[in-house]
């Protein structure tokens, strides 16, 4: 075998090796990216589920003002922390949920029944009007969580 042929064969192997390495590396990166996206999507769905539970507890007539306030704070810290990471990782605005967080807290804590029961931390039986309004609010804002999932999915 001539030297030129040997070089050509080596070249073929090297090219193939580099190609395989590149494909594997890209695939690994894509897999990592997919895993990161799936992690965040899971977190978002979990937070949405906690908000749903909170709203369900308001409807149940068994919630107390301070416990509601604690839950709102806990979820808000969770959501804000996650949005900080999402803005860094996927360039999604950190303030994405701000109007939702402000409106939900205002709707609850400005409600007449909430205010009347706040000082004694008594169980609140919210009015039918409130239950109706908060149900509408939930339905209207549920799409925010879906929008966020889509944006994460569509990001590079």
């Amino acid at each position: 075998m001539e030297a030129a042929e040997i070089i050509a064969i080596v070249d073929i192997f090297v090219s193939a090796g580099v190609g395989i390495w590149i494909v594997k590396n890209i695939q690994k990166k894509l897999d990592n990216r997919r895993a990161i996206k799936e992690h965040f999507i899971g977190e978002i769905l979990s937070i949405r589920s906690e908000y749903r539970d909170l709203i369900l507890s308001l409807k149940s007539g068994e919630a107390k003002p301070l416990s509601i306030k604690y839950q709102l704070q806990r979820l808000s810290i969770h959501l804000n922390g996650m949005m900080g990471l999402l803005s860094h990782e996927f360039k999604i605005e950190r303030s994405f949920f701000n109007p939702y967080l402000i409106d939900l807290s205002s709707k609850i804590t400005d409600d007449k029944d909430y205010m009347e029961n706040y000082r004694d931390n008594s169980t609140i039986r919210f009015s039918d009007t409130f239950i109706y309004d908060i149900g509408n609010f939930e339905a209207e804002n549920d799409k925010l969580f879906n929008d966020l999932v889509l944006r994460i999915n569509n990001s590079k």
Partner: protein, 138 residues
């Protein structure tokens, strides 16, 4: 000047008015924020209010009443110069105060729609006619 509400006022805060809850926005303004802002203005130092570290977070009405009264008594121009609000945990409150409370209460100040006082408070500082004054309620 840096002031953390949870450490220096109370870890737990209430709702808008003294009549409906303890540790309300009305109470915080009259017991703390009014005087702190006057001190910061006198020293020509920015007053930084740190919202983090509270137990149970904030009701929007607490923040609106406290920072709204501040704008009502001192005017938005002075407040934006000498006040900074920070929060790592509750970015939504910064947005609410900047875009809702400040413009709403500046409008209210111009229209002379006085805040609601549900309890007796000591004299407070106000900025009027280009200078600081002490004023009795209302």
């Amino acid at each position: 000047m840096i002031y953390n509400i949870a450490n220096s006022y109370s870890p737990m805060t209430g709702l808008r008015h003294c009549k409906i809850s303890d540790l309300s926005g009305e109470d915080f303004y009259h017991k703390q924020l009014n005087r702190l802002f006057k001190e910061a203005y006198d020293k020509k130092e920015v007053l930084t209010i740190d919202l983090d570290g509270s137990v149970g977070g904030y009701a929007p009405s607490f923040l609106d009443e406290a920072f709204g009264n501040l704008v009502y008594d001192f005017g938005f121009d002075l407040v934006k110069t000498w006040l900074e609000i920070k929060s790592e945990q509750g970015g939504q409150w910064l947005e609410m105060i900047q875009n809702g409370t400040f413009p709403d209460w500046e409008k209210r100040r111009k229209e002379k729609k006085a805040p609601t006082y549900t309890e007796e408070h000591p004299e407070r500082y106000v900025f009027a006619d280009g200078k600081m004054k002490q004023k009795k309620l209302p």
